[in-house]
Symmetry: C2
Subunit: 348 residues, 2 copies
DNA sequence: CTGAAAGCGCTTACAG
DNA sequence: CTGAAAGCGCTTACAG
């Protein structure tokens, strides 16, 4: 099309220069630029992105890599993606989204993403099994909620430990003592941090830590349901916990369902808190007290950091960073003072 | 890199041919291919996507265009995107997501997406004001829930009218008579179809149509809240409706909130139904009877249709199609039989 | 069966 | 101030 542009105007290179407002060693006579602009408009010229990408080595596209568990995207993903999708166009970047079945065998897929179709990669909550550089050396990348440190890649996370500690302290403030924690998947950094926060809150309040009160659930409603159900079944006739601290909101939803099935009222009999402050926390009844992570801001920040990295044009690892966003408790109706009467676990 | 591949092996063109398993006029001696493969692996060769795109005129990327209202993605978007993101890699396509502030001035943006960075476009719930070809002639495109017919572009939709009719008939089956409809935004095809379904159900049951029972809300929780709140305020002292048919689940959430504020129980006093069967329908209490549209399947189907279109390499309009997916009612706890006692609207 | 050459559409030193 | 030329990394007729 460039040569069509020329046909209409006068020159060849000229068109390129005026159409890209390149600030080169030029002054581009006004009349000429007018002519070119007109011609471009007339032929409705549209520069070819691939050709530009080829010569500029920049395609102005950011890749987002996420795992879809069971073919299902979740609210966490939606929120972060929201932040990314809104931030990217502000920097005139496109966003392409890659989905992976799992992180285990992601190394090869990741490599194929590095063929020039994107300028950089945002990895969403990656959990790599081995260490080893999974992202090719010269592909700029940042991780969000990286589970292990990816060597040399800057990671964006939130202060989950602090969030967990705060929300558990909040429960303690309402006079709850026996607080059950439905924890995230074993071994994940996020799970560990929540547990650490939970323990810190207990110890700050001089409460004993009872390991039987920490049970691994996972991050989904179904896993939350199962974990709590099993736990309650096993303890029929024993007293209910005062409160339940759930690894995330999805788990809390499962928790609320099971409690309802057992005839336990929330928050009258038991208080429940979640984590992430997703949409469901506001819509479920009772509304769920939760810990907000600024997921959208984190997504937006990932875009900016990644862009810096791309423009700096230095290999990963040059200036790895750790960015920690604050978390914040959002109090709602699912927390009340400890029930004065001790309730016993029934059977279902 | 190709010439590096050659340096290691023997030839130049050869590498390209074996690395792309092009089925040309070749037989590629086994020893040669071995050598090339080995060299490629050793240098860990990675073909440049931009260069390939430039010569093949195919970049193997599908564009998804959606509007983010108020910078906020919604569950509808998430579901459809889910379908797309899972389907695309099955066809070895990438997905890039474009977000627009609105559809009004989308024409120019759409044009810039047609610079070779994608091979085709999936438009999500576009609402164009003018008619006029908004998508350039030679850019393959499909719409999902297109609001007007985009000339020549095949549209994927669901039988919303039927869904609305079924769910309203369902309410009538529970003996509800005065059914309020919190409708979608004025003028949108989806709103109109829901209203048509609502009216059809009434007429099939020989019930009169009362225009004051159809009130425009919109598609968000907040708009649902406001619409119902205003409606109830105006009618203090008058009888409550038997049931509320909401334009979508988000509106239903707002509806449930307002009813709770007015001290109205669901479903004992009033039944409520939503539309879309999003995540919230399952998690809110009472769980929401809703109409399921197979959004993921629709997204996946869009990918396939678009790919056909791209491969057929014919201009838009050659074979426009209309694909209609069935809808399905999902009964849950928010519907019960009509309250025997007539409840009166209180003030809030 | 194999390699040299042209070309995809653009940009950018480099001579006029 | 302006244009001709080379080159980004690949593919694909086209001669050997």
């Amino acid at each position: 099309l460039l040569d069509v542009g020329r046909a209409a105007g006068v020159s060849a290179t000229a068109a390129s220069v005026v159409l890209n407002h390149t600030v080169s060693t030029w002054k581009a006579s006004t009349e000429m630029r007018e002519k070119i602009l007109a011609a471009a408009d007339r032929l409705n010229y549209c520069p070819n992105a691939a050709a530009q990408a080829l010569v500029n080595q920049r395609i102005h596209t950011l890749g987002v890599v996420a795992v879809v568990e069971g073919g299902e995207l979740n609210d966490y993903f939606l929120e972060v993606l929201n932040g990314i999708l809104v931030a990217a166009p502000r920097h005139r970047q496109n966003t392409t989204v890659f989905t992976l079945p799992n992180w285990q065998r992601s190394s090869e897929s990741l490599k194929t993403f590095c063929d020039g179709r994107v300028d950089g990669l945002i990895l969403l909550a990656p959990t790599f099994s081995g260490r080893g550089a999974v992202v090719p050396e010269h592909m700029p990348a940042v991780t969000i909620h990286g589970n292990r440190e990816v060597p040399g890649v800057t990671n964006i996370e939130s202060d989950e430990e602090c969030g967990a500690c705060t929300v558990v302290s909040h429960l303690i403030g309402w006079r709850h003592r026996r607080i059950l924690h439905l924890a995230g998947p074993d071994g994940l950094l996020g799970s560990t941090r929540r547990i650490r926060g939970y323990r810190r809150a207990l110890s700050e309040a001089d409460l004993p830590f009872d390991p039987t009160l920490v049970v691994t659930a996972g991050y989904s409603t179904e896993l939350g349901r199962r974990a709590l159900h099993a736990w309650l079944q096993q303890r029929a006739g024993q007293p209910l916990p005062d409160a339940v601290f759930c690894a995330n909101d999805a788990v809390a939803v499962g928790c609320l369902e099971v409690l309802a099935e057992f005839g336990v009222r929330v928050p009258e009999d038991v208080s429940v808190v979640g984590f992430d402050d997703t949409y469901v926390a506001r819509t479920i009844l009772p509304q769920l007290t939760s810990v907000r992570q600024p997921l959208r801001e984190m997504g937006a920040h990932a875009v900016e950091l990644l862009l810096e990295r791309i423009e700096a044009d230095e290999p990963n690892g040059a200036r790895p960073r750790q960015v920690v966003f604050p978390t914040e408790i959002v109090p709602r109706g699912s927390v009340g003072s400890r029930s004065p009467v001790k309730r016993i676990i029934g059977t279902w």
